[in-house]
C-alpha cells in the first residue's frame, strides 16, 4: 500500500503571534516550528498501517526550506521518502493544487493529512484534494483500518461519530485518537538523514485569495473577580452588564 502523508510546518501551539512588514508577514523571531498536530496523528496512523501491512509512506510538504527539519522528523518517525513543493503556501486552493499534482504522479492508495492546519485553520484542503483527484474525501477521521482495498473508518459528527466503509483510493483528514503520536528514536533520526527528500517547483495556480493584512485581536480587559461568598451576583452581572443571559 502506498500512503502519502501531507504535513504542515506551523508555529508551535504556544507561540506568541505578532507581525512585521506593516502587518503583512508573521514575525518568526523566537517562534518554534512543529509538524501540524493533526498531521502528526495522520503520520502516526500511516506508520502503524505500514507496520501491519507493508508498503511505503511518502511525506509531502508545501513549503520553503525552513520546513526541512520537520520533514526530516517525519522521515525519522517512519516515512520512507519525502517531497517538498518549494513554495510558501498562499491559500488552501494553492496548497491543494500542489498536493493533487504530486498525488496524481504517485498513484497513492491513501492520502492522509490533518483535519486542518493550526495556522490558517481552514479545514478544506482534504476536500479540495479529493475533488481535484476525483476520489472520496472524509474528515475528521478518528479511527482507520484498511482491509484489502477497502477503508473502514469512523469520523466525528456533531454529538457523536459515524462509521463508514469506502473503496481506496481516498483522502482523509485525521484527528485524535486515530493513533498515538510517535516520537522518533535514535535509529530513526540517524536513518532519516539518508532518506531521499526531493524538492520540486510548484505548478502554476491563479490568484484565488491574496493576503492584504494581518491584525491582532483587541487586548482583553482585566477579569472582574467576584468573591466566592457572593457567587450569585455573577448571574445578575451576566444579565445586566454583559447582557448574555
Amino acid at each position: 500500500m502506498k500512503i502519502l502523508v501531507c504535513i504542515t510546518n506551523v508555529p508551535d501551539t504556544t507561540a506568541k503571534i505578532s507581525f512585521t512588514d506593516n502587518n503583512t508577514k508573521l514575525n518568526k523571531a523566537g517562534v518554534q516550528y512543529i509538524i501540524g498536530p493533526y498531521d502528526d496523528y495522520a503520520l502516526a496512523r500511516a506508520v502503524e498501517l505500514k507496520e501491519q501491512q507493508g508498503g511505503s509512506i511518502t511525506v509531502l510538504n508545501v513549503g520553503e526550506a525552513e520546513s526541512d527539519p520537520q520533514i526530516r522528523k517525519a522521515l525519522a518517525i517512519g516515512a520512507d521518502d519525502a517531497v517538498r513543493v518549494n513554495a510558501e503556501p498562499t491559500d488552501s486552493y494553492f496548497t491543494a493544487t500542489q498536493i493533487a499534482a504530486i498525488a496524481k504522479e504517485g498513484g497513492y492508495d491513501l492520502i492522509l493529512m490533518g483535519r486542518e492546519s493550526i495556522d490558517f485553520n481552514s479545514g478544506v484542503v482534504h476536500g479540495l484534494v479529493g475533488e481535484m483527484l476525483g476520489i472520496p474525501s472524509f474528515s475528521p477521521v478518528m479511527k482507520l483500518d484498511i482491509e484489502g482495498s477497502t477503508a473502514k473508518f469512523a469520523r466525528e459528527i456533531e454529538g457523536g461519530k459515524e462509521f463508514l466503509e469506502a473503496p481506496l483510493p481516498l483522502v482523509l483528514g485525521c484527528q485524535e485518537p486515530i493513533a498515538e503520536w510517535k516520537i522518533p528514536n535514535m535509529r530513526g533520526i540517524m536513518t532519516a538523514r539518508t532518506k531521499p527528500l526531493k524538492v520540486v517547483e510548484p505548478v502554476a495556480v491563479g490568484d484565488m485569495a491574496t493576503l492584504d493584512q494581518y491584525t491582532l485581536p483587541a487586548p482583553k480587559g482585566a477579569c472582574k473577580m467576584i468573591p466566592a461568598d457572593q457567587a450569585e451576583t455573577l448571574i445578575s452581572l451576566l444579565k445586566t452588564e454583559a447582557k448574555v443571559l
Binding site: 503571534i17 479529493g130 466525528e156 493576503l211 448574555v244
Partner: protein, 320 residues
C-alpha cells in the same frame, strides 16, 4: 447573486444557518443583488420559508431520497449545480464540519476561491475583502478574494441575525445526482440524542479535571440545564473518558464561539483557550487563583466548583 447553504437538523434550519442567510442577504444588498438559500434533505416548506425572514427571497429545496444522509460529496454536487443554475457569484456556508467538506469540494468543482473562518461582512468597496480568523483565534487576516465565484465559510457570530418580516418562495431543486458521490457506505452511527450542539449553542458550561471524576458532573449538568446550555469539557477529561470525545473543546477538539462560556475547574491551558477564545464572554471558576484561565476570562470566581455551581443554578432559577 448570493447563494447560501442552510444546514438542517431534523427538518429545522440551524441557528448558525439563519446567521448565514442574514450574512448572505447583507452581502447581496451591498452588491445590489438578491440572496437565495439552498436546503438539502427533508423539511417542510413552512420551515424553509423562514429563511425569508432573514433576507432570502427564494429557497431551493433538494430532497431526493439519496440525500437523506449528510453526504458532503453529494451535497457538494448539488451545491455546485445550484451555483451554476443561479449564476451565483458568492456562496455562503456556515462554519461546520459538513459545510467545510462540501464547500471545499464545490470550490474544486467550480475552480472557485474558498475562504473559511470568516468573521465579518466583506468590504466590497474595492474588490472583495474579507477578514478571517487564523492561528486558532490568536489573529485575523484580511484577504482579497479574487475568484469569479467566491465561497465563504462564516464563523458563528460573524453577524447578528435579526428576524425580519420578509418572505421567501420555496422551489424544488432536482439536479442529476452523481453515482460516484455514493461510493462510501455508512455502516453505523453513535449519536447522543437530545443534546444541544456545541457549535450551535449560545451558552456552554464546560468542566475540567477540577470536577474530580466522571461521577461528579451533575452540578455542572444542572447549571447547563438551568441556562439552556450545551456542555463541554477539556482534553484531559475526554482523554480520561470522564466525558465523550465529542464534548472535547480546544485546539485538538471542537472550537466554539458561544455568547457565554463558563469554565468550571479548567486551569486554562493554551490549547484549551485556543478553542474558546472566540466566545463573547468567558467566566472562569477555579479554586486556584493563579489558574491561567483568569487572564482570558471576563468574570472570575476563585472557589470550589462543588460549592459554587449549585448556588449559580439556584440563582438562575430564582431569576426566571
Amino acid at each position: 447573486m448570493v447563494l447560501i447553504f442552510v444546514e438542517l437538523d431534523n427538518g429545522s434550519i440551524k441557528k448558525t444557518s439563519l446567521e448565514a442567510v442574514a450574512y448572505g442577504a447583507a452581502v447581496a444588498k451591498a452588491s445590489g443583488t438578491t440572496a437565495t438559500a439552498l436546503a438539502i434533505g427533508t423539511a417542510d416548506a413552512t420551515e424553509l420559508a423562514k429563511a425569508g425572514a432573514y433576507g432570502a427571497t427564494k429557497v431551493l429545496h433538494a430532497n431526493a431520497a439519496e440525500l437523506a444522509n449528510e453526504n458532503a460529496m453529494a451535497y457538494a454536487s448539488v451545491l455546485a449545480a445550484a451555483v451554476k443554475n443561479e449564476n451565483a457569484e458568492v456562496v455562503i456556508l456556515p462554519k461546520s464540519g459538513l459545510c467545510d467538506a462540501m464547500g471545499a469540494r464545490t470550490a474544486a468543482k467550480l475552480g472557485a476561491s474558498i475562504v473559511s473562518g470568516v468573521t465579518e461582512l466583506p468590504d466590497v468597496s474595492n474588490g472583495f475583502k474579507v477578514t478571517r480568523s487564523i492561528y486558532t483565534g490568536k489573529a485575523f487576516a484580511t484577504v482579497d478574494v479574487k475568484g469569479s465565484v467566491k465561497i465563504l465559510g462564516i464563523k458563528k457570530n460573524a453577524i447578528e441575525a435579526v428576524e425580519g418580516t420578509g418572505s421567501a418562495t420555496v422551489e424544488a431543486f432536482t439536479p442529476a445526482l452523481n453515482n460516484g458521490d455514493f461510493v462510501a457506505k455508512v455502516t453505523g452511527q453513535e449519536k447522543a440524542s437530545g443534546e444541544l450542539s456545541l457549535t450551535e449553542a449560545d451558552i456552554i458550561v464546560s468542566g475540567g479535571r477540577g470536577m474530580k471524576g466522571p461521577d461528579n458532573w451533575q452540578p455542572l449538568l444542572d447549571l447547563a440545564s438551568a441556562l439552556g446550555a450545551a456542555t463541554g469539557c477539556s482534553k484531559p477529561v475526554s482523554d480520561l473518558d470522564w466525558r465523550p470525545h465529542h464534548e472535547h473543546i480546544g485546539q485538538t477538539g471542537i472550537k466554539v464561539a458561544p455568547n457565554l462560556y463558563i469554565a468550571c475547574g479548567i486551569s486554562g491551558a493554551i490549547q484549551h483557550l485556543a478553542g474558546v477564545n472566540s466566545s463573547k464572554v468567558i467566566v472562569a471558576i477555579n479554586k486556584d487563583p493563579e489558574a491561567p484561565f483568569f487572564k482570558a476570562a471576563d468574570y472570575g470566581i476563585v472557589g470550589d466548583v462543588f460549592d459554587i455551581l449549585p448556588r449559580l443554578t439556584k440563582a438562575v432559577k430564582d431569576a426566571k
